[in-house]
């Protein structure tokens, strides 16, 4: 007679590792989650974000997911120009109105003020007990950016639900412009035509993405996940606001709009281990390796330790370490006489290290769950004009299930 013991052990492990929801709602037909996030950089950008989502069960085997995001971004961000100033006084072409404007007296920082509204719609359809299709659609609008996206993913469990395979595709179509409506000529000189440089229409960007993933229950305490994604972007990938200075002997001679290649192939491998300790604490260790054909490689390590306290409360410290190499066409500034086809002084394309230290707290409240998160982010850049950046992140969320 054959042994069923290992199959039974996996089924038991699956059941017990999922845990009991204390006094779970009998027939929870929808769930709402609302949060407020503040991201505040020292002397730079501040983001206020409101996020709300709802999951609604529709009839037999459909789950509808709705998400709305509203955020406002204000403050100043590096333009790419050197701090010294020089013979050129420059503003970006957005006269009046909002968008970027050079901070008076310092062309290396531009004031920045935008709002964004994003909507996401998702539908999960169960075809069989072990097979689901996820459909997604998204739209996001701000003053100088519009984005539309769609996605399709298949999720397939094996018979004992200890392994889940995922395969998905996604596409996106974005329109980018300065708030005045156009995009500057790449590597065009800012002071051309007496300060009226040549402008083109809005930039278009198309994205195609494929994703493969597997997650697996290893044993009673451990779940592992592995994902690979490949994304190809084509079209206008330049930032229409960023500029780059040409410098000789420390003096800025000219300033150009930046220029980036019109395609980018991004790949990422992501692995995650979640392990429950003997004392029921949970640790989560994630590693991501990213590489693209712009010459950027990055490593991310993210570690979280969830300490379960009495009464459903928990504390979760977090440490995230990140390092990336610079893009092939990143220059902090251009030497005199050198005008490459592609050049950017955007600090985000520089060689960078960053560390995030955070603490999250959760507790039951008002029939739902309240979560508070505080994180500190510190970034250093190898060559960019602003070589450090720090930010505080605060988030408060409330989640509730309804019958």
């Amino acid at each position: 007679m054959k042994s069923i013991r290992s199959k039974l052990a996996i089924a038991t492990c699956t059941l017990l590792s999922q845990g009991a929801q204390q006094a779970g709602a009998v027939e929870s037909s929808w769930t709402a989650d609302t949060s407020y996030l503040l991201y505040s950089e020292t002397d730079r950008v501040t983001v206020n974000k409101l996020f709300t989502s709802a999951n609604v069960t529709l009839g037999d085997n459909h789950l509808l997911q709705l998400e709305a995001v509203y955020d406002t971004i204000t403050g100043a961000t590096p333009t790419g120009a050197v701090k010294s100033g020089g013979p050129v006084t420059v503003t970006t072409p957005s006269s009046g109105g909002k968008g970027y404007r050079a901070v008076s007296g310092n062309p290396a920082l531009a004031k920045f003020d935008d709002t964004r509204l994003g909507l996401n719609l998702g539908l999960v359809q169960s075809l069989r007990r072990t097979l689901r299709i996820n459909y997604g659609a998204s739209v996001s609008v701000e003053r100088d950016y519009e984005a539309y996206g769609g996605s399709l993913a298949l999720e397939r469990d094996n018979e004992d639900r200890s392994v889940t395979f995922t395969a998905g595709v996604a596409g996106s179509y974005d329109t980018i412009f300065q708030s005045s409506g156009g995009t500057p000529k790449p590597m065009g000189s800012v002071e051309e035509n007496g300060g009226n440089p040549e402008f083109f229409g809005p930039g278009k960007k198309r994205g195609f993405e494929g994703m493969l993933g597997v997650s697996r229950i290893i044993n009673r305490r451990t779940v592992a996940r592995l994902n690979y994604s490949l994304k190809r972007l084509e079209g206008y990938l330049t930032d229409p606001y960023k500029v780059i200075s040409m410098v000789r002997e420390g003096i800025e001679l000219r300033r150009f709009y930046e220029s980036r290649p019109d395609s980018r192939q991004r790949q990422a491998l992501y692995g995650e281990l979640v392990h429950r300790l003997e004392n029921r604490d949970t640790i989560r260790l994630a590693y991501r390796y990213y590489w693209d054909d712009w010459g950027i490689f990055s490593h991310t390590i993210d570690y979280r330790h969830r300490r379960n306290l009495l009464g459903g409360r928990y504390l979760e410290p977090r440490l995230r370490l990140y390092t990336q190499s610079s893009a092939d066409f990143f220059y902090p500034s251009l030497p005199f006489g050198v005008e490459p086809e592609y050049a950017s002084a955007d600090y985000r394309l520089d060689q960078m290290n960053s560390a995030t230290l955070g603490l999250k707290y959760g507790q039951p409240a008002l029939g739902g769950t309240l979560r508070l998160r505080l994180e500190y982010l510190y970034q250093t850049f190898a060559e960019a004009e602003y070589d450090t950046n720090q930010a505080l992140i605060f988030q408060a969320s409330f989640k509730k299930e309804f019958d």
């Binding site: 089924a11 009998v26 037999d60």
Partner: protein, 296 residues
């Protein structure tokens, strides 16, 4: 049901007792810390009664009652109920249809009270269309039963309660303990001094008074299936309360009692139940599983 749990001091450990799931329940704790013992006992009692309230088919306003009174309509269930239904589905597959949570309606004709009240074959045949997990539509989180069908998580619930309670206790206490919910056990570590807990295995013919054996348990689950108190006797044939969902009749030549030790109480419980469902081949089934067992 609502009576308060009782804590008594034994030599070297605290014994907490209460009633839940129609059974006497015990928690033995290898500690001298009385406030801790009180807190853990309350935790165990609360969790056992929570699971009973949520999954007992005898109570109203719980997910099982909602599902059973769905009358052909789809019912959306919460995560914990869905996890248990997934587990039941998996056990049905693993046992090739022998373990079936829809077989409870057969009790409309089978009443195992020690009498000779064996139902007529036509009565059993009339119930069978309402039995069979393959007739249920289960697409997490939505379950749809055909009208007249019912599910009963009684074959899983007590063992699940033991394992879940053990989990909760482990979060707050690292010492040795033994949980016993009506004969379904889990040991979270030995007694003080490293001594295992001694568990008496009942003689099926003399329940409660005489024990046929002592099992030492330090860690892991132990469960017993049997017909000690639940059987019919007619014309010299003993009808065990273990019903085969495919025929609607008791499994012939099933052992009187099967006790299994496994990593968790759920596994021990499922293996002992499935062994009983194998009837005369119970011992052969258990030997293939390479677990410690007692078959009577």
């Amino acid at each position: 049901m609502t009576d308060a749990p009782l804590l008594t001091r034994e030599s070297g450990y605290w014994r907490g007792s209460f009633r839940a799931m129609a059974s006497p329940c015990e928690l033995l704790l290898a500690t001298g810390d009385r406030p801790l013992a009180e807190r853990l006992l309350l935790l165990a009692c609360t969790e056992a009664r929570r699971i009973e309230r949520k999954f007992s088919r005898y109570l109203r306003d719980n997910p099982v009652h909602l599902i059973n009174s769905g009358d052909g309509r789809p019912i959306t269930v919460d995560d914990e109920t869905a996890n248990l239904l997934d587990f039941a589905h998996r056990c049905w597959e693993i046992s090739e249809g022998k373990f079936d949570i829809t077989s409870g309606v057969l009790r409309e004709v089978w009443c195992f009270d020690g009498s000779d009240n064996v139902p007529r074959p036509e009565a059993v045949a009339a119930i069978l269309p309402r039995v069979g997990w393959h007739k249920v539509s289960w697409r997490r989180p939505v379950i749809t039963l055909r009208p007249g069908m019912e599910i009963d998580l009684g074959g899983i619930g007590k063992e699940y309660a033991v394992d879940q309670t053990a989990r909760l206790i482990r979060r707050e206490y690292s010492g040795g303990a033994l949980l016993n919910f009506g004969g379904d056990l889990y040991a979270l570590g030995p007694r003080a001094g490293g001594e295992p807990w001694a568990v008496g295995v009942d003689d099926p013919d003399a329940t409660g008074s005489c024990q046929t054996g002592i099992v030492n348990l330090s860690r892991g689950g132990l469960a017993t299936s049997g017909d000690a108190r639940r059987y019919l006797l007619k014309d010299g044939v003993r009808y065990s309360h273990i019903l085969d969902p495919t025929t609607g009749w008791p499994v012939p030549d099933a052992p009187r009692a099967v006790t299994v030790i496994a990593d968790t109480c759920l596994e021990a419980g499922m293996l002992s139940t499935m062994a009983m469902l194998h009837g005369s081949r119970a011992r052969e089934f258990l030997e293939a599983q390479k677990v410690s067992f007692w078959c009577q």
